[in-house]
């Protein structure tokens, strides 16, 4: 065993830390941030525009408005007709789309490298000159309602997740779904969208991330040409909306047409953005803890719950250490045939207790670290992913350089620290549990299953 450890440690030291030398950072006079990462492996470029706005910026009654605005960004500007943006990108051989999250809205194009100008010209246009047309909005509300039906209404796991978040978060805006509640989707007005756009879409609230076969100064000049003339906006100060302290376990049931049981457990935990300075290692210890439970086929969940005891058909642990507000550590799963949700939960709690009472082995720690080191190399195979990491960190208020420090921070985690976060955060007091109660698929949709229907 000892020789094996030496080998693994050797591996960890040899793999180079990802160089930051090929990243250039600029800021235009109007506040727009530009980050350029050179990757000359292929003659392509990915261009992403990130805005600091998402569902966690929204209040009740207009939930999902960031997402529908993202849809409307393709529906015409002062100089572009509906869908013309997409047509021009397509004609330039580009792939494009956009995505909305809790803490960000981002637009992207991937192009051959000499077409970057097309992206900047069009993105600059819709950054300040969007036109919200009433008729287009009415149609797009329907499209988004269909999107919600597809993703959530007819998906039992999504219904559980939505109810779970709404139960666990009381006053944090992570309470509501990114796509919004159906009732809100059906009632957006053009003026709501115009106000939201006016408030958040401005160069001083945006980060442009470019990764690819480009020359940074040339990209900077191009950015000055197209984004430079745009006027900044006074963006609103967000209220903190710090989640109230949870004072006891919360348990809910969700009835929906389904064949299989399913459960979610979530404990309130800090993230890099919210943790106290002296405890800045904690999110990385939680990340390590997630790896110990679910970092591959050799991790404890796979070994002991799926194989071993065969109590789970599937079980996973999830923790994201990069978000704007405090979040949860999640465990989700479906019991194996012949096992109940209660038995699966008991087995999961057994795993948590083991983490609280026994130090994880050096061997396990090293295995997770080896995976983290290797993943940092594998991730560089995708220009898109590299841009994602930079844009996401910047937009939630962190420094993109954290992508490089991430590996070192995980490597620094000790077995004692894993045990410490397991003891500190995995308490019933901060736990929320949701269980899917499968309803028959072959009879009428039960009344309880949130199936919103809106004739119009």
């Amino acid at each position: 065993m000892l020789t094996k450890f030496k080998r693994i440690i050797g591996l960890l030291l040899v793999v180079p830390v990802i160089a930051t030398a090929n990243v250039s950072e600029y800021q235009l006079d109007n506040g727009l941030k530009l980050i350029v990462k050179e990757d000359h492996r292929a003659p392509v470029v990915v261009s992403q525009v990130w805005y600091k706005v998402g569902s966690s910026y929204e209040h009740n009654g207009i939930t999902g408005i960031s997402h529908v605005l993202e849809h409307m960004m393709f529906k015409g500007t002062e100089n572009l007709g509906p869908n013309e943006f997409s047509q021009i990108i397509a004609a330039n051989g580009g792939r494009e789309n956009a995505f909305t999250g809790r803490d960000y809205t981002a637009y992207f194009q991937t192009l051959e490298k000499d077409r970057l100008e097309v992206s900047f010209r069009l993105e600059a246009e819709r950054m300040r000159k969007l036109v919200i047309d009433e008729a287009e909005l009415l149609k797009e509300r329907e499209v988004v309602a269909e999107e919600r039906r597809m993703r959530t209404e007819d998906n039992p796991h999504a219904l559980v997740r939505e109810a779970f978040n709404a139960t666990a978060f009381v006053n944090s805006p992570y309470h509501h779904p990114v796509i919004g509640w159906m009732s809100d989707i059906n009632h957006y007005e053009a003026t709501d969208l115009r106000q939201w756009y006016q408030k958040w879409y401005a160069p001083n609230n945006a980060t442009v991330v470019i990764v690819g076969d480009v020359e940074p100064e040339a990209v900077y000049n191009l950015a000055k040409k197209y984004f430079g003339p745009l006027k900044p906006e006074t963006t609103a100060q967000l209220k903190p909306q710090t989640e109230v302290e949870q004072r006891g376990k919360r348990t809910i049931e969700v009835q929906a047409p389904a064949e299989l049981p399913y459960m979610m457990m979530g404990w309130k935990v800090p993230v890099v953005n919210t943790v106290d300075k002296e405890q800045s290692w904690e999110p990385y210890a939680l990340e390590m803890l997630a790896g110990i439970l679910d970092g591959g086929q050799s991790a404890r969940f796979s070994r002991e719950l799926v194989r071993g005891d065969e109590v789970a058909a599937s079980v996973g642990a999830g923790y994201g250490l990069f978000s704007r507000l405090a979040d949860m550590f999640l465990v989700v799963g479906t019991p194996a045939k012949g096992n109940s949700i209660a038995e699966l939960q008991l087995a999961v709690m057994g795993q948590i207790e083991k983490l609280q009472t026994e130090l994880v082995s050096e061997e396990e720690l090293h295995r997770i670290k080896a995976q983290v080191v290797a993943n940092a190399v594998y991730e560089r195979d995708s220009v898109f992913y590299q841009a994602m990491q930079i844009g996401m960190l910047e937009t939630i208020g962190l420094d993109w350089k954290l992508t490089d420090q991430y590996v070192a921070n995980v490597q620094a985690v000790t077995a004692e620290q894993v045990q410490a976060v397991a003891k500190k955060y995995f308490k019933d007091k901060g736990l929320t549990v949701a269980e899917l109660i499968p309803m028959p698929l072959d009879s009428k949709r039960p009344v309880a299953s949130a199936g919103a229907r809106h004739g119009r």
Binding site: K4, L11, V15, P43, S86, V143, K337, V377
Partner: protein, 434 residues
């Protein structure tokens, strides 16, 4: 808008840049495995894919056999158990993968090229590939997991639609069943049949080995020899039965307590290397293959707001793969949306695309060609396809010129011969309008 757009397009024609495709090295190992290699020295990693002609098309009456055989490889090998195998890969950050579709069964490895990682990862990969033990306890467990997966399908309208679609398009052909099998077939699979399946199909002459990464050709040759030498030479799989086209229009309605109706429509399409490939591919790109700017998206989503997603695609396979259309819409709009989709197809088969549409499609496909090859994993995917289906080595080099050569007449001709708008299989899964 069209005039303006055409202006943009014409100006682009003059500035199309030319980029060379990767230089593919190809050879055979001593016992007959075909190897395809592209060096990619920039990142200290390598992707290895081994594809066998051992997908569900080889299941015979034992539906699910190919998938379960593939899933068992890393459950025990050379006397090591599942935990030991997983630990060996994960200790050095290597990623093992396995998957099995209708044509191809794939086993893959992604690892760092640093010796301390690479040597043990490759050794374990070789063992898993060539010395699987098929342990009884894993067999029982994975069978149960497959049955749970089949149960989960019943709560997914899209999965239900897909199963009914294949079953009705392919009738008696081996493409008719799903790789995941069905409850009856999976329950009756035996270890003996898995072992026999492995012995017949996981052989060198039935394998394509793909390597992309930071290794030299000399190293690539050594790796391929190591992987292949553990395998029996064997024989390549026999030809599949040809697919016969659907001869009758048919509509299948499956009731499901969902708020949307999922519609899947289509028929038999084309195979890899099909003589009509480029005409049909470019034609479909315009009709429903180009995302938000396709005709279908324009008619169904942009003009009418009926669906979030609407698409059509050919899935070229060893034998004729499907030509599939799909959308999801609120139950009370299902008929309207289906009519719009059918009508868009009908108009397209009769009139073909306009010149503007064809120019735009060519610009999109050729102008973005470099994006198809911008990562090791994408290049590996193309190599596996080229090797597995025996496409010419210059497939990527000639792709753009073949797309550019397509005319409106060729698209109309190919659609009139190959796509029968009046003989579609249509599956609707959903609830009643309320």
């Amino acid at each position: 808008m069209d005039v303006k757009l055409l202006g943009v397009l014409l100006s682009l024609l003059l500035t199309v840049s030319v980029h060379a495709s990767p230089n593919i090295e190809h050879w055979q190992t001593e016992n007959g495995a075909k190897v395809y290699f592209v060096p990619a020295p920039e990142l200290a990693m390598v992707d290895i894919t081994v594809a066998f002609d051992a997908g569900a098309a080889r299941d015979g009456k034992q539906s699910g056999l190919a998938l379960l055989t593939n899933a068992m490889l890393n459950e025990g090998a050379g006397g090591l158990d599942t935990d030991q195998i997983a630990i060996a890969f994960e200790d050095v950050g290597a990623q093992f993968g396995n998957s099995s579709q209708r044509d191809m069964a794939v086993v893959s490895l992604r690892t760092l090229t640093e010796k301390e990682a690479f040597t043990p990862a490759l050794a374990m990969f070789t063992k898993v590939l060539s010395k699987p033990d098929f342990p009884e306890n894993s067999f029982e467990r994975i069978k149960k997991q497959m049955l749970i997966g089949l149960q989960a399908e019943k709560q997914s309208p899209s999965a239900l639609a897909s199963r009914a679609f294949y079953s009705n398009v392919y009738g008696e052909h081996s493409y008719a069943s799903m790789p995941a099998g069905n409850e009856d077939s999976v329950s009756t699979l035996t270890l003996a049949s898995l072992k026999a399946f492995y012995q017949q199909y996981y052989v060198a002459k039935n394998a394509v080995i793909v390597l992309v990464g930071a290794v030299t050709i000399k190293e690539a040759k050594r790796i391929a020899e190591q992987l292949s030498s553990g395998l029996v030479a064997g024989d390549s799989a026999q030809a599949l039965t040809p697919v016969t086209a659907v001869s009758q229009e048919k509509t299948i309605i499956i009731e499901h307590p969902s708020s949307q109706t999922h519609i899947v429509m289509g028929q038999v399409g084309m195979n890899r290397g099909d003589k009509d490939y480029f005409a049909l591919y470019v034609g479909n790109h315009i009709l429903g293959g180009s995302g938000l700017v396709s005709q279908l998206s324009n008619e169904v989503r942009e003009k009418r707001g009926l669906s979030y997603s609407v698409y059509s695609y050919f899935r070229p396979m060893r034998e004729l793969g499907p030509y599939q259309f799909g959308l999801q819409t609120r139950n009370d709009q299902a008929e309207e949306a289906l009519n719009v989709m059918k009508n868009t197809l009908k108009v397209f088969t009769e009139k073909g695309p306009t010149e503007t549409e064809l120019v735009a499609a060519k610009q999109n496909i050729t102008g973005g060609f470099a994006l198809r090859l911008d990562s090791n994993s994408k290049i590996a995917g193309y190599l596996a396809m080229i090797g597995f289906y025996g496409l010419p080595l210059d497939y990527l080099d000639t792709f753009k010129s073949k797309v550019n050569a397509i005319t409106i007449e060729q698209i109309k001709d190919a659609y009139s011969r190959r796509v029968k708008a009046d003989k579609m299989i249509t599956v609707l899964v959903g609830g009643k309008a309320e």
